[in-house]
């Protein structure tokens, strides 16, 4: 449309008036005026009167003349420009095809009346159905079904692990046996051959299990989705019917085992100098992988309720994982993904999609010897999950682990900047609670002394404070809960020290005090 902005021009306003003593002698006044003029001409008149000491009796006349001048010139300005355009068009000096194509594209892509009629996508239909069902009495059934599916997968994973372990053990024994007999009855070639054979067996077993797992997940997904869609149809036709007729018999509610106690502290904080926003900060010592694990092993069906209820809402939870530059899956042991493509497929898609833009960016940045098309530290890739305990969205923050080991990183470090982008994206995409690794590392290593941890935590928290404030101005969803995760192995003393650090950085809302009522 008006891609080219209006070029303002300056026109000179001329005004002359006779002097008091001599009618013949004229004072002349010339004022340059920007056309189009975006202020008030009456104000301009006042400035002119003052600046040139013009007698006040001319005020009205000047007001009128200047207003006329500006309106006339503005009209001319538009008309001349448009006349030029039309002339150019007449003389075939314009690339009309391009202009029209552009309009066509604009209308087609942005305005409903001209867009191609697009039905709701399958994804959206399923999302709506699922969201409706989990907010209906069918929730319990769905949870049980999903739990049993998960259990099957977990069992198979267990079997796989056992099987592979058995195989490994057998192979080790065999190998030891052979080694013992080395130079007695076996030769090096034979051992090499055996090693190769073992390797083959291993990969064969792994492959077999993987394909079995894949097949299982695939069937589960298909069955589950089909069942859900039937259920929603039944539910819609008759609201009273609870779709409890699941393909599986209802399971008895499992007893909840108590969770292992973990170090945890919560704060309610206020941010902002005048208008205060309330946020929650949770300091937890937990392995980030646990937050993103498939299932709390003991949680049973009910640990999935919360994530399922919120999955298609606008109150998502997210987690930040540190990753290296290769787009690959962290070791998530997960149940079947009933909603999104499975992790590997998502990652493959990401790898394909980032290749081009990242490559372009890296080329601009004189990438040199570095991998041309890979993500760089500070970049983030995002995966979606329906089967994780505490996250719907995982932000994989690409970091350079070596540089993060160093004790003195600044607020301009790529990892911190990446964090900023993550928080911004979270706000823009309705992720209202997010977990970040507070120290930007998942494990405790030896260089991470108490002082190191304090320094790092302080830096990250201070930056996060700024980012949250900044992101909240963007008009998205407000971040409600920020979970700051510390390595699970952290010592209670250090945890307490970090807990004490928080109130010095944030304004923690005070305890509610009962005020004595005046009698």
């Amino acid at each position: 449309m008006t891609s080219e902005t209006l070029q303002n021009t300056s026109k000179t306003f001329e005004f002359s008036f006779p002097t008091c003593t001599n009618e013949e002698l004229l004072y002349k006044l010339e004022v340059p005026v920007q056309i189009p003029y975006d202020g008030s001409t009456r104000e301009l008149v006042q400035r002119v009167l003052k600046m040139f000491h013009i007698p006040v009796y001319l005020e009205d006349e000047l007001n009128e003349k200047l207003a006329d001048f500006v309106s006339k010139e503005t009209k001319n300005f538009h008309n001349e420009r448009d006349a030029k355009l039309i002339d150019q068009f007449k003389n075939n000096e314009l690339d009309v095809e391009c202009v029209i194509k552009n309009w066509e594209k604009q209308f087609k892509e942005n305005v409903v009346d001209f867009a191609e009629q697009k039905g709701t996508s399958d994804e959206e239909v399923f999302a709506a159905a699922y969201h409706k069902l989990v907010h209906s009495p069918a929730l319990e059934t769905i949870m049980q079904v999903e739990s049993s599916y998960a259990k099957t997968v977990m069992n198979m994973l267990k079997n796989r692990d056992e099987d592979i372990q058995k195989l490994t053990q057998k192979q080790t024994e065999e190998m030891e046996e052979k080694m013992r007999l080395l130079n007695v009855s076996t030769t090096e070639e034979e051992i090499n051959a055996l090693a190769a054979q073992h390797f083959e067996q291993q990969s064969l077993a792994a492959g077999r299990w993987d394909s079995q797992l894949d097949a299982l997940r695939h069937t589960q997904r298909a069955t589950h989705r089909a069942w859900l869609m039937t259920a929603i149809n039944e539910y819609q036709t008759d609201e009273r019917v609870t779709p409890s007729t699941s393909p599986l018999s209802a399971l008895p509610p499992e007893p909840l085992a108590p969770l292992a106690p973990r170090l945890e502290e919560s704060f309610t904080i206020h941010l902002g100098s005048q208008l205060k926003q309330t946020h929650n900060i949770r300091l937890v010592a937990v392995d980030m992988m646990d937050l993103c694990s498939g299932d709390r092993a003991d949680g049973g069906a009910w640990s999935r309720v919360q994530p399922a209820l919120a999955l298609y809402s606008s109150e998502l939870s997210g987690a930040v994982l540190c990753a290296d530059a290769r787009v690959r899956s962290p070791q998530l042991r997960a149940a079947t993904e009933h909603h999104f493509a499975d992790l590997d497929a998502q990652l493959r898609r990401i790898a394909e999609a980032v290749e081009e833009p990242a490559g372009r960016r890296n080329a601009q940045r004189e990438g040199g010897a570095r991998a041309r098309r890979a993500l760089q530290p500070g970049d983030v890739f995002v995966t979606r999950h329906s089967n994780l305990a505490e996250a719907h969205v995982v932000f994989h923050l690409v970091v350079d682990d070596d540089s993060l080991k160093s004790g003195d990183i600044t607020s301009r470090h790529p990892a911190i900047l990446g964090l900023r982008n993550i928080l911004k994206a979270a706000c823009c995409n309705d992720v209202t609670s997010i977990a970040i690794p507070l120290l930007l590392r998942h494990e405790l290593t030896e260089e991470m002394t108490a002082a190191w941890c304090m320094r790092r935590a302080e830096l990250v928290l201070k930056c996060v404070k700024g980012f949250v404030l900044e992101a909240s101005g963007g008009g998205g969803a407000a971040l409600r809960t920020l979970t700051a995760a510390l390595p699970a192995a952290i010592s209670p003393a250090l945890f307490a020290a970090l807990g004490a650090l928080l109130p010095t950085i944030f304004r923690v809302s005070g305890p509610v005090r009962a005020r004595p009522q005046p009698e």
Binding site: W103, Q376, R384, G475
Partner: protein, 802 residues
Amino acid sequence: MHEDESCKFAACTFFAKNHPGESCGSNGLPLTPSSITILGRSQRLLTIEHTNLCTYLDIIRGKHERIIVVAEVIGKSLAEYSSKFSYEEIINISLQVTNAMMFLHKQEITHRTLSDDNILLDSSGRVKLFNYGMYYMTNEGNEVPFPLGLPRYLSPETILNGGGPAADVWTFGIILLELCIGKLWKNIKPGPTLRRILTLVHANNPAERIAREHDCLEAYKEIPETVRNLIEKCLKIYPSERATFEELIEDLSKINSKTLEDIKQPRGLMGCKLQYLYYWWQLTGGDIQAELKKNGLIKNSPPILSMPIAILLDGGTIGGKTGALFDRRIAKYSLDLLKNRLSHIPPQDFYPLMHERRKDYDAVALPKIIRERDTEYQFYRLLWFQRLLHGYPYTTQYIRTEAEIDIPPLERGDVWAALLGVVGDIEDQYERIDKETPTPTDRQIDVDIPRCHQYCWLLCGSAGHRTLKRLLKAWLLTNPQYVYWQGLDSLTAPFLYLNFCNEARAFACLSAFVPKFLHKFFLKDNSAVIKEYLAKFWQMTAFHEPELATHLHDINFVPELFAIPWFLTMFSHVFPLHKIVHLWDALLVEGPSLPLFMGVGILRQLRDTLLDSGFNECILLFSDLPEIDIGECVKESIDMCRISPRSISYRRFTNEPEMKDPMDIVEVPLDVLLSETCSRISLADFFSLTCQDKCCVVDIRSNLLYEKSCIEGSINVPYSGVHLGQHELKSLGAHPNKVLTEAIRQKKIIVVASAEDETAQLFSDYLVKCGVSRVCVLHGGVSALHTHVPSLFGVPKKTAHK
């Protein structure tokens, strides 16, 4: 009544443009979101009123850059009328449209999106243009991702990326032609339509050419010549050759033969201002978004489905959301909800009489925040204030009395202006001030403005920034005795916020506010003024919160450390706007001494924390003030203000006339003032307190002097016998202890009377340390009182001692 006619307003919605990636403005700050720019620009539209324009009622900024425009609506759009209009009707409709368009062009607003679906026509033949401000509010379409207008109405120069106001004339011509010969370019895609329009450039008579293309040449020829001439005048290729709307009106008025009958102004609810109706409707629970959702205009696709798949370091996102399409449909709202809610209100209540004794509403007892959300209460308040404001300035006294109860949020700007006594041709006065010429302060102003109440969507946009700067410059220029102190921006913000489209009034309010509340605060050397203010604040703290004052004295946490921004900006630097307005509502009614007590009120809310804190904790606490319950703070400060005798909060640096009567004087030199813990009460105030039996006099002269002649009803605690180290009332002796305890219980004011100031101060300080509230010192001591009011003196009754 027709179903459509019961709808009084409608809404449409769209998304503003997203700034790509990590872009910063020239000042290094992040770019203003487009929705903020739209919000700022559209404020002006809310003030436009014209019979042929639908009044804008609200512009809402939703989540994720959504903008919702709410405006008046009538009848049906031309597109919805299936029957053909007669030429008489066409001429009349055209006349009304041109009237509206001429008005818009006079306001320098280009419509650009004029089309048959936003020209509304009701059953009585009245025409109004709906949402005529799209092009204006979106900054010529630059702030939205979609093209404005419909292809078939675009003028050739608009298609070529030009187009000024004259493009509207072309569009009007096309609409007029459509009214005569039927819809043009039906079922043709945008591309071909635009191509056809462009080929018209080569035609001598584009209108005829269009008719020929549509095989309607016959019909075209049948159009009365007058109308055909009009169409041809509009559809000239070169904008300079097209008629202007003024000329069109002239022509149309000549051939217009239809006069609309006057509709009788409806009575009762439907006769109320549309803005009020909309406001009440919202209070009743009317939900703009809900209706939009119902009509499918807001689609909530689950956010998880549109998550980006990667975010590069520079902020560029890959994958994720694709922009939603712009849906031109509108959702109409019925007022039934409001009608039902207010159905029981008798008709006479719609027309309150000023001198009638009004009934009290039950809601008055509720907190202000709740009252502001009560439909019925706001209904009565708004109508009543409307009437009062109508009579301003003759109703100033009534307005003040009513404002004491509360101020309806919708009319706050007007009420404040009335309370501040803003009268006269303020526009003209404001116009005369030069707000453009650069001055040395500009730099500082430019630095401060992007930090001033930026959470407020109005103030954080470029429109807000520009206006705030103009206001500040204008104020500085008209107050040459003053300089720009940081904080002046915050002080101006509430006025701008309430008078966003009425700069002159914002300025007039600011100009009236400063001398009243902040006299001499903005002097280049304002140290004496601030010192006096803080000393007074400290004395008020000691008066109402002795324990707290003692503690803060002990840890040496003086008001200079925290209270300067409170008073310099009248709290506008420390609280968000929605709290400031409540604070200032009270301020404007109660007068210049209230802020002192508001300061005390804030301290009182933090009392427990402060008492537990040392110096460092206090500094930390005030560096980022915790949440304060403003309703509570205002209530308590008004109470404190009202029970405090006027003279104890006396300040020398005010705009008020000097006190001449020795009975009223309490003034002391500044250095004396700074050394005193308790304030002085004037003889006049003392006299009136005595008459009401609201005070307890402690005479600290020697026993002998007391016996000779004393203030009646006073007790004698000879200063020489007091152990200043023992902070217990008991140590004063049984009788004084009993009397004082009783006085404290009855909330009496304790007046220390002495022969010399020094002992009076020391003793009053001692009482404060004992935790006695409401202690003050009699100015001039016993002797002054004896000179001026000898009648209060007598001989002590001996019996009292036994």
